[in-house]
């Protein structure tokens, strides 16, 4: 298993095919979980309250029964109708591990409401996990499952989630500004377009052509940011193979709108550089929505086609960082010193 989408689909199948929550076990888990995972396009924000309900019920059951979270989950997913050899020898039911994994996924999936009616999902599995939850639980004994499913210390803290939610909101404001300005760009907007995408000898017509391309791209990004299916997720395998230090990434083939956010973005969001966290989200969305490449990143500078040794106009339009920096700059979020360093030209 490699992606959020794969994990989500397996959870969806679990809730659809087994119906174990209501029919098999009579567990106290919220009835609405199946509805959260009902759509193939992503979790349902309308039923997100069921996830909060699940967390509450787990916490209540832990106290009430003096059990660990894993014991509560395993008991809740245990098939009380198991009979014959399975029951006599306590043999693990075939799907118990997957059932617990499904509920564990739900337990660590959360919707955060943003201002203006927007929302963003977080999938923040336990930091102890090195694989997607189904792979974590695969082949595990019942007692091992009870122990391992008790891991609850999440990859993203509450503070991380709040900071990333704010960054998402900021990214949305950048993209909305782009949409507002690029339709019929003023001279000031044209200057910003030239700074990030045009050679020094670009004509007004050239700039308008670029503006049209940009408007198309930012419109697509706005649709994602303004929708209810944007998911900021951990990717446990990448995190545990050296990737956690990075900013973020996406899987180009993944159909769901998932951005895998990593520590550099979180550090920026928490460290007073919310603009950089927002810029990173725009950067990654440009990979998804406009199939951009990474010709260069910011620290080397000279992203502007007007700079000596800068990108060409074609490369700039293909370059994810130019999309991120342009949006941040146009919206007034980019510090002047960063503008100078990254473009390689004086404003």
């Amino acid at each position: 298993m490699q992606s959020f989408e794969e994990c989500y689909k397996k959870t969806r199948d679990q809730f659809r095919s087994l119906k174990f929550i209501q029919e098999q076990t009579g567990t106290p888990f919220a009835d609405g979980l199946g509805k959260v995972f009902a759509s193939s396009s992503g979790p349902s924000s309308r039923h997100a309250g069921s996830l909060d309900g699940l967390r509450t019920e787990i916490a209540t059951a832990k106290v009430k029964n003096a059990k660990s979270e894993g014991e509560v989950l395993v008991a809740g997913c245990h098939d009380s109708k198991a009979k014959g050899m399975d029951k006599i020898f306590g043999k693990m039911e075939t799907d118990l591990n997957d059932r617990v994994a499904a509920v564990k996924m739900a337990r660590h999936l959360q919707l955060m409401k943003l201002r203006g009616g927007q929302s963003v999902w977080f999938f923040s599995p336990p930091v102890a996990y090195t694989e997607w939850v189904y792979d974590e639980f695969d082949g595990m004994s019942k007692s091992g499952l009870e122990t391992w499913a008790s891991e609850a210390d999440e990859t993203y803290s509450d503070a991380d989630k709040t900071a990333l939610a704010n960054a998402t909101q900021t990214a949305m404001s950048y993209v909305m500004k782009c949409m507002a300005e690029l339709g019929s760009p003023t001279d000031a907007t044209k200057d910003v377009i030239k700074r990030w995408f045009c050679a020094a000898d670009a004509t007004d017509k050239d700039v308008k052509v670029v503006a049209k391309t940009l408007a198309k791209g930012y419109r697509k990004m706005a649709k994602v940011l303004n929708g209810s299916h944007l998911i900021l997720s951990d990717e446990p395998k990448d995190r545990n193979s050296g990737g956690w230090k990075d900013y973020a990434f996406v899987y180009k083939s993944e159909k769901m709108d998932v951005i895998y956010v990593q520590s550099a973005t979180i550090s920026a969001a928490l460290g007073g550089r919310g603009w950089l966290a927002a810029l990173t989200l725009v950067h990654e969305l440009s990979h998804r929505e406009m199939s951009t490449d990474d010709h260069r990143y910011d620290t080397t500078g000279n992203l502007s086609p007007m700079a000596t040794g800068g990108l060409t106009t074609r490369q700039a339009i293909e370059n994810a960082d130019n999309w991120g920096y342009f949006a941040t700059d146009l919206a007034g979020g980019l510090p002047a010193s960063n503008r100078l360093t990254v473009t390689g030209i004086a404003a």
Binding site: T130, G144, T147, W148, Y247, K252, H287, R296
Partner: protein
């Protein structure tokens, strides 16, 4: 996104050898893994040599970029030792442009789930 730090060039047999970070700009298909040789007198680039391959997959491209971090003169000034971000070390003979890997760190053992039976 943060790019790689600059790498100090070295001089071998009168040629300046630089790490070329941004190969995609030049149509080389990868960022990192190339060095260039320049005639310092004329400041003319003579050649670019691939040191290692980078294979791009389904993740965002920057996840695969792998940059050179260090250039060192070896073999009494006749060759260059090149280190990459993964700690691998390569040997380049600028006279023949032959490249060979001379050291690769043993990869970290996978971190097994401690609660899962092996």
């Amino acid at each position: 996104m943060s790019g790689p730090p600059d790498v100090a060039p070295v001089t071998v047999n009168g040629l300046r050898i630089d790490a070329l970070h941004w190969g995609k700009d030049r149509g080389l298909g990868q960022n990192g893994g190339y060095v260039t040789a320049t005639d310092p007198a004329s400041d003319t680039e003579l050649w670019a040599q691939k040191v290692y391959d980078i294979t791009y997959g389904d993740k965002s491209p920057q996840k695969y970029d792998l940059f050179i971090t260090k250039l060192t003169v070896v073999d009494d000034g006749a060759a260059v030792q090149i280190t990459d971000q993964d700690g691998r070390v390569f040997h380049l003979d600028p006279a023949t442009r032959a490249v060979r890997m001379i050291m690769a760190p043993v990869p970290d053992a996978p971190r097994p789930n401690p609660r899962k039976p092996s």
